[in-house]
């Protein structure tokens, strides 16, 4: 589930509020969106993909963590915004879709994107 909206990185564009398919975020009075309905998060990582400044962290577990993870450690490890990087979104990156070379991996079977 979504665990972190980095106050340090967020530029207040509200893109996450707009794109979250299950309406987890609310706009914040100070410009930084809040995780208003964490229980509705379906762990689809799409907010992470759309955030232009890598300010979000979605944990893979489908339940809230007892303590939010350590933002500094995640930032240092390059884990904030990792999904955006891995699918090749953002300036200067190669779209991941171009690398989804399924059929070459296993010619007898189906391509590898399902």
């Amino acid at each position: 589930m979504i665990e972190i909206v980095s106050r340090e990185r967020c530029v207040g564009c509200d893109k996450c509020v707009e794109v979250c398919p299950t309406n987890v975020f609310d706009t914040g009075a100070d410009g930084v969106p809040s995780i208003a309905r964490q229980d509705d998060c379906q762990t689809c990582f799409l907010c992470e993909a759309y955030c232009p400044v890598d300010a979000l962290f979605v944990d893979p577990r489908s339940h809230p963590l007892p303590q939010p993870p350590d933002e500094r450690a995640l930032a240092a490890a390059g884990t904030l915004g990792a999904y955006r990087r891995q699918i090749g979104w953002g300036r200067g990156r190669t779209p991941g879709a171009r690398l989804a070379v399924g059929p070459a991996l296993n010619r007898s079977g189906p391509p590898l994107t399902s």
Binding site: V17, E18, V19, C20, P21, T22, N23, D40, Q42, T43, C44, F45, L46, A49, Y50, D59, P60, R61, S62, T79, A82, Y83, Q86, I87, W89, P95, G96, A97, R98, L99, A100, V101, G102, P103, A104, L105, N106, G109, P110, P111, L112, T113, S114
Partner: protein
């Protein structure tokens, strides 16, 4: 948007089926509004994941398409339809050509594009852009709660709430409606499916729409035990083991793993490890499927090296097959003015009794969306809608029941493997008795919630209805076939037909009547006939 809009075609749902429908309707010259419960571009399982496509060029080797159709027909429990399969192959091929022309970044090999699969976020981001540029009005975070119906009983729009605008009510009057609201995964959390709560099925059934194939709803997918990440295809490289490390013997780690389900149903722990993946391909696999590996990376699991516990998550009629019955080539439902596309429609035409997960559903979304959009444009453009009024009932008005408790009560009947994956006649009857009682309470006492929580209330009613149709159809199919596994009951020839269901307070089932051979080839749908644009033609 709040207040009222007027349009030729209203599309409900902004996943692949909805966006293809909107494009087809717009290119036919119709004015189009697309309303999504969430955000068109991220809503639904395709945007989260992606899919293969049932994609065969017409100039393939030999009679590749004919052979694909024949083999799929046998695979489908002989309930698919060869003519529809051929149509889907043809339409999908042409529409994927469009995608390529619009610049979708397909991978290339030796200068040739590989068009057999689509990466979800990229695909749906581009579909949204295309829809927007086609002049379609997109309404994000505008869940529809009910359909409008006019004096003639023809669907004439929809109404709902704008959940990011203080739940303000909205109404769109329309000449025709395309439902593309997805299947129903019962809020199981399965990757990207929580917007798929069966709202469209409920709205349609309230106007008398029929459903088909609802017994083929026991689709489960494997995910790591800590999450609900049901990306499937990598599991073709899996070895499964039990707690003590013993290998679980399965005929196919991807498609035939009933033994894994048996162990999980019995409460045992089962582990997976992708140790069958060829070493030299592992780096490329990571690049090809980041959304499979990232969640494991974040959890500190290297799936090639570590064994990790798995569970099975219900995907219901998302990866299952059942949905609204289609009665014409333009994906018309049994309700005039209402068309169905994608997972809200039955996918029996291409999948019969088995899962269409991935390739077949992906191709179906593209083709059925295109046909439904064109059909709705023909039907709806310029049509008069005398006195359109909102229809529907269950869960619409504030009441006493807690929506979370209603959802939990439905989930208790449909999520457990020993109730739904392995079905028994007695178990189905017991579940139905409880679900019927729950439905009566929902109808009589109403569901609580104000503002945007009206959506939760309506979803709770939709899940209840969906579970009842699924289990009623399951009881009517007294055999096992495809996704419907009735313990101890083998496949029987006399059930080689589809099963229809419908109704709310008094649900019913019926075998689909066989096509009358004296009638010759299927008739051209009447709504496709340009002389029949006036609703008077309904008589």
């Amino acid at each position: 948007m709040t207040g009222a809009l007027d349009t030729d075609v209203l599309v409900l749902g902004g996943g692949p089926a909805g966006t293809w429908a909107a494009l087809a309707a717009a290119s036919a010259g119709a004015r189009v509004v697309l309303a999504d419960k969430g955000y068109c571009g991220t809503s639904g399982p395709t945007a989260s994941g992606g899919n293969n496509l049932w994609y065969l060029p017409p100039d393939g080797p030999g009679d590749a398409r004919a052979r694909a159709v024949e083999s799929r027909f046998e695979q489908s429990g002989r309930l698919a339809d060869r003519r529809w399969m051929a149509r889907v192959l043809d339409e999908t091929y042409r529409r994927v050509d469009d995608l390529a022309a619009w610049g979708y970044p397909f991978p290339e090999e030796d200068g040739v594009q590989l068009r057999g699969s689509l990466q979800g976020p990229e695909y749906m981001k581009r579909m949204r852009r295309r829809v927007h540029r086609s002049g379609v009005t997109i309404l994000d975070h505008h869940p529809a709660l009910r359909l409008l119906v006019d004096d003639w009983g023809v669907v004439a729009g929809a109404a709902g709430l704008a959940r990011q605008r203080a739940a303000a009510p909205w109404t769109v009057r329309a000449g025709a409606v395309v439902l593309a609201t997805g299947g129903c995964a019962f809020l199981s959390g399965a990757f990207g499916t929580n917007v798929d709560t069966g709202d469209g099925h409920l709205m349609a059934a309230e106007l008398g729409a029929e459903l088909s194939g609802m017994e083929f709803s026991a689709a489960y997918a494997l995910s790591p035990a800590h999450g609900a990440h049901t990306k499937g295809l990598m599991m073709q490289f899996a070895t499964y083991t039990t707690e003590d490390g013993a290998e679980v013997e399965v005929p196919d780690p991807l498609t035939a793993r009933t033994r894994v389900a048996e162990l999980l149903a019995a409460g045992e722990r089962v582990y997976a490890r992708l140790d069958r993946a060829p070493r030299d391909l592992r780096a490329a696999m990571r690049e090809a499927q980041p959304n499979y590996f990232l969640p494991l990376d974040k959890a500190g699991i290297d799936p090639f090296r570590d064994r990790y516990p798995v569970r099975m998550v219900l995907e219901g009629t998302v990866r299952g097959t059942g949905g609204l019955r289609i009665v014409a080539d333009d994906c018309a439902t049994t309700v005039p003015g209402l068309f169905a596309a994608g997972d809200v429609a039955t996918r029996e035409p291409v999948s019969g009794a088995v899962s269409g997960g991935g390739a077949y559903n992906g191709a179906w979304a593209i083709s059925s969306g295109t046909w439904a959009g064109a059909g709705a444009a023909r039907f709806g453009a310029g049509r008069a809608r005398p006195r359109a009024v909102p229809a529907g009932r269950a869960g619409l008005e504030p009441g006493a029941l807690d929506p979370a408790e209603v959802v939990a009560a439905v989930q208790a009947e449909v999520l457990p493997l020993d109730r739904n994956y392995f079905r028994t006649r007695a178990g189905l009857r017991r579940s139905l008795a409880r679900l019927d009682a729950l439905w009566r309470r929902v109808a009589a006492e109403g569901v609580a919630g104000t503002g945007r929580d009206r959506l939760r209330a309506r979803q709770a009613a939709a899940l209840t209805a969906h579970a009842r149709w699924s289990y009623r159809a399951a009881l009517a199919r007294d055999e096992s076939r495809g996704l419907h596994r009735l313990v101890g009951a083998p496949t029987r020839d006399e059930y080689e037909h589809r099963i229809l269901t419908g109704g709310l307070d008094e649900p019913w089932t019926a075998p689909e009547p066989p096509a009358d051979p004296r009638l010759g080839p299927p008739p051209v749908p009447w709504s496709a006939d340009p002389v029949h644009e006036s609703p008077g033609a309904l008589a």
